[in-house]
């Protein structure tokens, strides 16, 4: 950098040469004789100084992630900055980085290269509604409409397989965002209506068989869709008049020539057969413009989804009936005979009967019956045969869609976001974390520790016993369970001497219960090898003994891992688990492993703590140093992510505290945990002596 660049006024734009120097310095790794930054620098030189600084800042940030990506960014940034507002270009950069994280370099470069279309999308975004934003509400909405849970998934085409509703990932058809949100709701409701009002009832293949009777089956299918939409609109008008008022604004005119043939479709009780008849009557004519919410019917998808579900639900129903008939034993009496009543219930629900008596089915069975009725239009007799546990476990089945979501090969793993301070954004589902068991080692470690610290342990016992929640009698209360005679005597004496009679004359007994859950998070990184590991294990033994006396609930987990794809938490003791020999053996079995990725461990353990009902929740970390992992999780990045995870913990009401032996800890721990929330132990050998005292201070 030249002297003028350092000292000159910051307002003046940098020249192409100065910019080229800076770029060369940042992108050195990916430059060659045939590849220079001259073009990029020349373009940047035309920008104002603030824009140049903005570009350079991001080039530097991206270069830390991937210099090649940064090089491409440098070539496109000038055009992008000129084209877009600052907040849009921010979003463009984040989108590129996210793409890089998820899919790799080339797709990310493609995002950078296509700044123009990104900008166009952002322009439309003011009125765009996204499925991602609408889905949580819509899923609840649909579940409210009927009991069956429907999933929502983005797709180019608008259709349903009766398990999942496929909707466009974003909608910008209507002029405002609210209107587009409403359109999502109407589309989803319409697809829901296909299932609910029996478009596929019975055998969905029958639909295609009908269409294939015509010369052009494709055309017949389109006509069917249009007419079925008319039928479903009428159903919605009856069932959900409020929604229909919104839907009406989007309806298209039914051609005059159709009026007569369509009249039966609007009648109550019209079924898909009426639609088939209307198709027969109108086939051959021109199709009107389809309303924007009309989807398509994908028979194959429905056949497949229904086939799977029908199998599952049949087994689940038979299973549930067996439980209903047989009580706890699950073996139904052989003569138990289930039927469904001819008449539907007052809400149109299926009514289950046992030996001719109406039976109040539990909600899960009722949902199953409803779902089967939706698919088949009735409950076949063979479904109503109670069958025992046929090895069918609907919850454990691996679902095909999970394979595509990518969770399948990360079976049993938890995904967590990670904070990237440079981007000031989370990297989504960045860390893959598994819970493993510590291999228990049954040796003399625990016994020897207790012998070694015998004096200490006796003293701890006394101090902790005093802390234990006990019945405390509160004296001189305004009301209470019994009379405080000391107070009464005083008061009467006061009265005799002419003063006022006091009113605090009662005893009140209250149990002050400790209500604390503490999570101990133990560093199992490779650097703890030797003294530190021993001290950690000894501390855990002594602290566990103390906590047993106190009766506080506690759990112990060790953390380690290598890279974001292999974060590991080692279970030593869970909250509900008693302090047994097995737990002792696990403490003894704690061994140094790999690296220290702290953020993800904190996030997971906080989730565990959240599941415990306690007034005070504590997360205590035993650590020997800074967060550190193989793939760049070190220095500022690691510290900032850990800090972010601790802030998240604080928000959910968890107090975090760190006990460390790192002498440099004062440099970063106050920033991460806050000034009063850590303790530095000078000599690791003193850790076992001090830890219980630290805990006592913390919690009393």
């Amino acid at each position: 950098m030249t002297a003028t660049g350092d000292t000159g006024d910051t307002q003046r734009a940098l020249s192409a040469a100065m910019l080229e120097d800076r770029l060369d310095e940042m992108l050195d790794a990916v430059l060659s004789i045939r590849r220079s930054t001259a073009t990029a620098a020349a373009a940047l030189a035309g920008l104002a100084r603030a824009d140049q600084d903005y570009a350079c800042h991001w080039i530097e940030v991206i270069a830390k992630t991937n210099p090649e990506l940064a090089y491409h960014f440098a070539s496109h940034v000038t055009a992008a900055i000129t084209r877009m507002r600052r907040e849009d270009s921010d979003a463009w950069i984040i989108e590129a980085m996210d793409t890089y994280d998820k899919l790799g370099l080339y797709p990310a470069v493609a995002v950078l290269a296509d700044a123009e279309s990104f900008a166009a999308v952002r322009d439309g975004q003011a009125r765009t509604a996204t499925l991602e934003a609408s889905a949580p509400m819509l899923e609840l909405f649909l579940q409210g409409l009927s009991g069956r849970k429907l999933k929502l998934a983005p797709s180019e085409r608008l259709y349903t397989d009766t398990t999942t509703l496929f909707l466009p990932a974003r909608l910008a058809v209507l002029p405002t965002r609210d209107a587009n949100r409403m359109l999502y709701k109407i589309m989803a409701t319409h697809l829901w209506a296909q299932g609910w009002f029996g478009t596929f009832r019975g055998d969905p293949r029958a639909l295609r068989a009908e269409w294939e009777r015509y010369a052009e089956p494709e055309r017949a299918a389109q006509l069917f869709c249009a007419l079925e939409t008319i039928r479903l609109d009428a159903c919605l008008e009856r069932e959900l008049p409020g929604l229909y008022r919104e839907l009406r604004t989007l309806r298209t005119e039914v051609p005059a020539a159709w009026k007569e043939a369509c009249a039966p479709l609007a009648k109550k009780g019209a079924s898909v057969d009426d639609t088939h008849q209307a198709v027969a009557a109108l086939y051959g004519g021109a199709l009107p413009v389809a309303p924007v919410y009309q989807g398509i019917i994908d028979v194959d998808a429905v056949v497949q989804a229904m086939g799977e579900r029908i199998q599952q639900e049949r087994a689940a129903l038979q299973n549930a009936l067996a439980k209903l008939a047989g009580g706890q034993s699950h073996t139904p009496p052989p003569d138990a005979r289930f039927t469904v009543s001819e008449e539907p219930g007052p809400q149109g629900e299926v009514q289950l009967m046992l030996d001719g008596q109406l039976l109040a089915a539990p909600p899960d069975v009722q949902n199953l019956l409803q779902s089967i009725f939706q698919d088949l239009g009735g409950i076949p007799d063979e479904y109503l045969v109670a069958a025992g546990d046929g090895g069918y476990a609907p919850d454990n089945e691996k679902r095909a869609e999970d394979v595509w979501k990518g969770t399948y090969h990360e079976d049993g793993a938890f995904l967590y976001n990670e904070w990237d301070h440079r981007r000031e954004h989370y990297r989504k589902d960045w860390c893959v974390l598994r819970e493993l068991d510590v291999h228990p080692v049954h040796d003399a470690f625990v016994r020897e520790t207790l012998r070694k610290y015998a004096g200490l342990s006796a003293r701890l016992r006394k101090t902790f016993e005093a802390l234990r929640g006990e019945n405390a009698v509160q004296r001189r209360r305004k009301n209470g369970d019994d009379i405080d005679f000391d107070a009464l005597v005083d008061a009467l004496a006061d009265l005799k001497s002419g003063r006022e009679l006091g009113d605090r004359l009662f005893l009140r007994s209250r149990r002050i219960a400790r209500n604390i859950a503490v999570m101990l998070m133990v560093d199992m990184s490779g650097s703890t090898k030797g003294w530190i590991n021993d001290a950690e294990r000894e501390s855990l033994v002594l602290l566990s003994e103390a906590l047993e006396i106190l009766g506080d609930r506690y759990a112990i987990y060790g953390f380690s891992g290598t890279t974001r794809k292999r974060c590991e938490l080692y279970r030593v003791k869970e909250f509900a688990e008693p302090y047994t020999d097995l737990v002792r053996a696990r403490i003894s079995g704690i061994r140094p492993q790999d690296y220290t990725r702290m953020g993800v461990a904190i996030r997971h353990l906080c989730k565990r703590l959240d599941q415990v009902d306690a007034r005070t929740k504590l997360l205590i970390t035993l650590s020997d140093g800074k967060p550190d992992d193989y793939d760049g999780y070190r220095g500022e990045y690691g510290i900032e992510d850990t800090r972010q995870a601790l802030l998240e913990a604080k928000r959910s009401g968890i107090h975090a505290f760190c006990i460390t032996i790192d002498h440099d800890a004062r440099a970063y721990l106050p920033h991460m945990y806050g000034p009063a929330n850590y303790v530095l132990i000078d000599d690791v050998r003193k850790l076992p002596l001090k830890i219980s005292d630290i805990y006592r201070h913390l919690t009393s």
Partner: protein, 270 residues
């Protein structure tokens, strides 16, 4: 100052409280009462347990003494305590002792909310001894045949802390309450609010939708009580979606997504 005189007539219910029987519960309660067996009412909140008790007290012409239990409720809050006046102490009966003395019906609402040691005082009353020992006065009250005891709890709470001890629950005849069937619920909502059959039916349908969401973010669906609230607001001129939003959606949850979904459901119906 005299011990505060007991006025059982002030707990007598003179006008018939409106109650629609869901099944055989009225005759079962009567029979349990005649056989001196205490009754446990189970059911979700707002399904009519308290109203049922009022109705039964009216039907049996006994005073009804209701205690809403809370986690600070002590045994002396139920049995009684000494109060101090200028120169002496005076015994004051608690609601349970009052009910025993006057042969009334004592109803402990949401019993699981009370502290565990508190519920034990009802044990000798709730079996065939039917005695209430008052430790502090040395008195043992024998309950007359007219005395009745009922407790209620909501088994829907998933907290392990809020469960009833076996030694307590095994002293009672249990009556299970559900939300009424749709046409009955419609009738109740209409009767309580005067909203008209059509809108009452829609409210009931709306309640069924919220009950579909139980377990997916809602702890409970809309209770009959909430429906009556919404219906009353509608009768007073509040628009249906707004009444549903304020009386039902906001009352059920604070989760913005859930509120949005429930609002969409009510807007779709009305």
């Amino acid at each position: 100052m005299k011990s505060r005189a007991l006025q059982p007539e002030s707990f007598l219910i003179t006008r018939e409280p409106y109650y629609e029987a869901q099944g055989e519960e009225i005759s079962l309660f009567e029979k349990a009462y005649r056989n001196l067996i205490p009754v446990l009412l189970k059911g979700p909140t707002g399904c009519g347990k308290t109203r049922f008790m009022e109705h039964m007290a009216w039907r049996l012409q006994r005073p009804l003494i209701t205690v809403s239990c809370h986690d600070d409720l002590t045994a002396s809050d139920l049995v009684g305590r000494y109060l101090i006046t200028a120169d002496q102490t005076v015994w004051m009966d608690g609601p349970l002792a009052q009910a025993v003395r006057c042969g009334g019906i004592c109803y402990l609402d949401e019993i699981v909310e009370a502290r565990k040691d508190t519920t034990v005082v009802i044990h000798p009353l709730a079996d065939d001894r039917r005695l209430l020992p008052i430790e502090k006065t040395g008195e043992v009250l024998a309950a007359p045949a007219e005395f009745g005891l009922a407790i209620s709890y909501n088994p829907g709470y998933q907290s392990v802390l809020k469960d009833l001890k076996q030694s307590t629950r095994q002293r009672f005849v249990a009556l299970e309450f559900h939300y009424p069937s749709p046409d009955l619920e419609q009738k109740i909502v209409d009767h309580e609010s005067g909203v008209g059959a059509e809108r009452a039916a829609k409210l009931v349908r709306f309640a069924a939708m919220t009950r579909n969401l139980k377990g997916s973010g809602l702890e409970e669906g809309a209770s009959t009580r909430l429906l009556v609230h919404a219906a009353k607001l509608m009768v007073s001129g509040v628009s249906a979606p707004y009444a549903c939003q304020s009386a039902i959606a906001q009352a059920l949850t604070d989760d913005p997504e859930m509120i949005a979904a429930i609002n969409e459901l009510s807007r779709s119906l009305f």
